[in-house]
Homo-oligomer: 431 residues x 3
């Protein structure tokens, strides 16, 4: 995963333009992808699709004609979405257009100006301190013109039209954890899921941040009712502990599934309540949609010093962390896929498991195998009002052990799967 991510790293992406197209082109080699182009000026709810931005080169030359700030060395050097400029200006005039991180003097900050037309350069604080008085040649060879906003969907059809939405923005230039780690995770997840039978249909969105989710929601307003569960995968490549931010609903099935997986894994983790600041879950969870979409991260945005700087590079993201994040998301998918309602066919007293070979033969021993206990829980709570996840939460047994028990009991006709869905059980919702 890390190797593949490295291919995406050098591209200069933004919320529109060829950087996104090139990135989606590389992803399309891995998974089926439909690329959408939405024209500049299109109204999307309260917003308007902006002009398309493309950049070829940019530099600042000192009085000696040396490129002291050079887009070719790092695409972070340009204020993302800068309007074109070509001028000779004094150092003082130049400084009004420079951004640095004084507290991290060797890192280049990442800055954007999407909705106000301006130009600027980002550089290390050390670089700026080295600039001497004199006139500087400034050049941003960019275009900001009518064009398109580009985003892509990968749709994997399952048994039902009910959808799981997986989303990550794809608008950041050479930044690794934010956002390439999430893009990579979703690409590998989609590749894996495309090869297995699925109950739900899965829709992967690779979109520019904010304006991308707003555009997608605007064009899919009548279809979002199909979204039963959703996850934004963000900053999943650093070595920090997991952070899961719950959906606005707070107790949606996706929330409970992720929490279950985290609680039964051995990785450190934290669960935080929804707040309306963060990634595209802000739009999915706006009150007019209120979709059950949470956000899985390792260290959240803004909580690691490398965030939005040149230090969020390929070294900052670790292959092991990426793989572990993918494994956790797969476990969440397994919970969503397997979260059925079963009905005990023998609800009055326990069935005699022994005569079916499902129970230890010599009684009296104090210890009971975990699997027996999982079967007893499945039988006891499969009254048509509990999903498998309900039972996992109440019993504190791992979902996978209960699923194995359920399969064994189904094969002995002691349980059948209900196709009506679970009745709401207020007693369980308290757990």
């Amino acid at each position: 995963m890390h190797e593949w991510m490295a291919e995406l790293y050098p591209i200069c992406r933004s919320i529109t333009g060829n950087g996104v197209r090139e990135t989606l082109g590389l992803i399309k080699r891995q998974i089926p992808l439909t690329v959408h182009e939405v024209a500049t000026g299109t109204q999307v709810f309260d917003w308007t699709v902006p002009k398309e931005w493309n950049i070829r080169d940019a530099f600042v030359k000192n009085p000696q004609g040396e490129r002291v700030i050079d887009f070719q060395k790092s695409n972070l050097h340009v204020l993302n979405y800068s309007v074109p400029v070509q001028a000779r200006i004094s150092l003082d005039e130049l400084k009004a257009h420079l951004f640095t991180l004084p507290e991290q003097p060797s890192w280049i900050p990442y800055r954007t100006s999407y909705y106000e037309e301006r130009w600027g350069f980002c550089l290390t604080h050390e670089q700026m301190l080295g600039l001497r008085d004199g006139h500087y040649d400034v050049c941003i060879d960019a275009s900001l013109e009518d064009g398109h906003l580009t985003y892509a969907e990968c749709y994997l059809k399952g048994e039902t039209a009910d959808e799981v939405l997986m989303s990550r923005h794809v608008c950041h230039p050479s930044l690794a954890n934010d956002n390439l780690s999430g893009v990579t995770l979703l690409t590998f997840l989609a590749r894996y899921l495309s090869a297995v039978p699925l109950r739900y249909s899965y829709r992967f969105l690779l979109i520019p941040g904010t304006i991308g989710s707003i555009t997608w929601l605007s064009r899919n307003e009548t279809n979002v009712g199909r979204v039963k569960h959703g996850l934004v995968a963000a900053c999943v490549g650093d070595s920090g502990r997991f952070t899961y931010k719950k959906s606005r609903r707070g107790n949606a099935e996706i929330d409970r599934a992720v929490i279950h997986v985290l609680q039964h894994g051995d990785a450190p983790h934290e669960v935080v309540d929804f707040s309306p600041y963060g990634y595209d879950e802000r739009q999915f969870c706006s009150p007019g949609f209120d979709l059950p979409v949470g956000c899985l991260m390792r260290t959240p945005h803004g909580r690691f010093p490398e965030y939005h700087s040149s230090a969020d590079n390929l070294n900052f993201v670790q292959g092991g962390a990426l793989g572990d994040s993918l494994a956790h998301v797969l476990a969440v998918v397994e919970v969503l896929e397997g979260n059925r309602v079963y009905v005990n066919q023998n609800p009055r007293c326990e069935p005699q498991l022994g005569k079916r070979g499902l129970y230890r033969m010599v009684g009296g021993s104090a210890s009971s195998g975990v699997d027996e206990l999982a079967m007893l829980w499945m039988l006891n709570l499969s009254d048509g009002r509990h999903t498998l996840l309900d039972i996992a939460e109440r019993s504190a047994q791992p979902f996978s052990a209960l699923k194995t028990a359920a399969d064994a009991l189904v094969s002995h006709k002691l349980l059948i799967e209900s196709h009506v869905g679970a009745f709401v059980d207020p007693a369980v919702s308290r757990h």
Copy 2:
């Protein structure tokens, strides 16, 4: 406030009589007040308005003719509501009528006998130990005759007939924290509120304890439905931390408003559940009324050693504590007044705050101002099902910051105030 309170301090008050009238007369110089007189013998629910008690003088003279216990020195010396007496008795006979505090030998206790006709004197334990054998002249020049019970109301009319009830008993003689601190707070609060526009109407009750609230409820039984919120203000002048005792309902808006103010302030505080022992909230919260009335105190009755003794004097109450208590009650009033329901006019995705000048212009920075966050919370939860207080509780933002954000969003037509009121949101009621 402390200076004004000192004027009320010397008056000998009781549950009836001229002491209450004189006190109400001083209050009437500050705020509009309607004084009510209810005749002795009037039936008020299970109770009967008692005879009116007035006292002119009282003393005990030792065998040498010296006034060893003297009402003129402290009105606490007389068992409050003593029947008149004039007699010469032995020390042993006298002792059956004396009350002291052996554990605080230099303090005079405060004792009453409203509903059993008896007489007695209260004195310091040191005084009692100094009494020598011999015959004592005892005199209580009081009257206990048919008359009236006196109480007062200050009514401030607001936009609606819905009322906030503020109550404090006014029946204690020279005791400062219990009850003059509360009387003073309510007087100053009423004076302040009489000068500002109000959404709710406010009714301040200055009543004798227990029999006063029972009398008021008895005479206003058909009107109490207008009481939407209420507060008993008791013992608010000592230097202890705040104690808020919740209403019987336990999660009434007044409970949540006071708790919010305390949690977002920096004063130490404790919140305790309702119990049917305490002040007039006992009557307001009796099961036949169950009004949403809580009780704000600093150190609760019976928890400070000076309670109901001569040590609860003007030195015990601190002007700073009184003012701080008033500030907290005013903050509660601000929550009640401002607790509206707003409806997001742009509920699908976030509105573009930037084009309205409501958002930082250069993206990419990790930090977001608090006010932006307050706006995002208001937009996200203003779905017609959340009051501003609901949003404050869920977001952990201070009410005032959300109110400021709401005002800004209303002025940009992004929110409008709902006049339907909030739908119940079970998800929020869990917070």
Copy 3:
């Protein structure tokens, strides 16, 4: 209780057979008992009543003809439900039929094989290590033939047909804590309750484990709706702290009653959630019945090393612990019997307790007697929506103090008992 238990101790019980009959015969001398016999082969839900097992003698003789394992010395030596056998076999062949506890080398384990026909012996590990090579004479003089399963009911008729079910299995041979302590407790409880007036009817079940409760439920399927509360009393004679395992419902009245008694007593205790592993509550709480039946234990099955071994003997059970367990169950019965709904006849404001002699006469003192507070709680919450147990939980007052207060208030016509039952109060259910 301990002495009487000692009479039951030597009998060789199993899930069927004369050992159970003999045990029930001894119990019948103490309490009215109806003994039921259910024929082998009877279908009881998913199970079949097994053949009846009876044993007269059993031994293993070493090559010298000495009884090295002897049923006459301890009935635990035989694998319970062993088929008859008479053979001369090698030590190696014998060892395949031997059970020991290597970690407790001087204890005989207790083992059963009800549903697979086999034979075996249990012995101390020390004994087994002493067995020398050679041929052994093996004899189990038992019968496993068509017959009956035996169980008994003691029914105490109360005012209503609503029942409290008390159950304990009676199928273990010479084991004291599991199960004779529970059998003894229920016998003494039934003897006590048979002499007092009762609101509920009480049904005591003395049944073989698992198959007994399944058989009883199968034969009483249409009557179990009468069971309003139930308790399995298990392992109640050791010196460990109490463990209460809640019913599947989790907040049934029996759960709340037991928890109240434990919380207001001074014995250490733990409350655990229902799980489908344990005693006969597994069957009572199967999803098709879901009866409100909990399980009161001291140290739970499998948590004390002596469990299911010869060390669970008469010395292991302590008379004091048994008596204390009985006292706790009696306190639970008192809660169930006394858990009425009262209606305040004077719901608007407090009634004047003083004029009825129910209140301290001299006001102003800081301290209030507990009984006054209990009366105030009863008056405040007796709005027809709170049971006495609801009030006990909310007020944190002991049930017995509230009951005394309720009786006093009823005698003064301030409360009357409601015969409608309590309305559900969501505010209280949160407690």
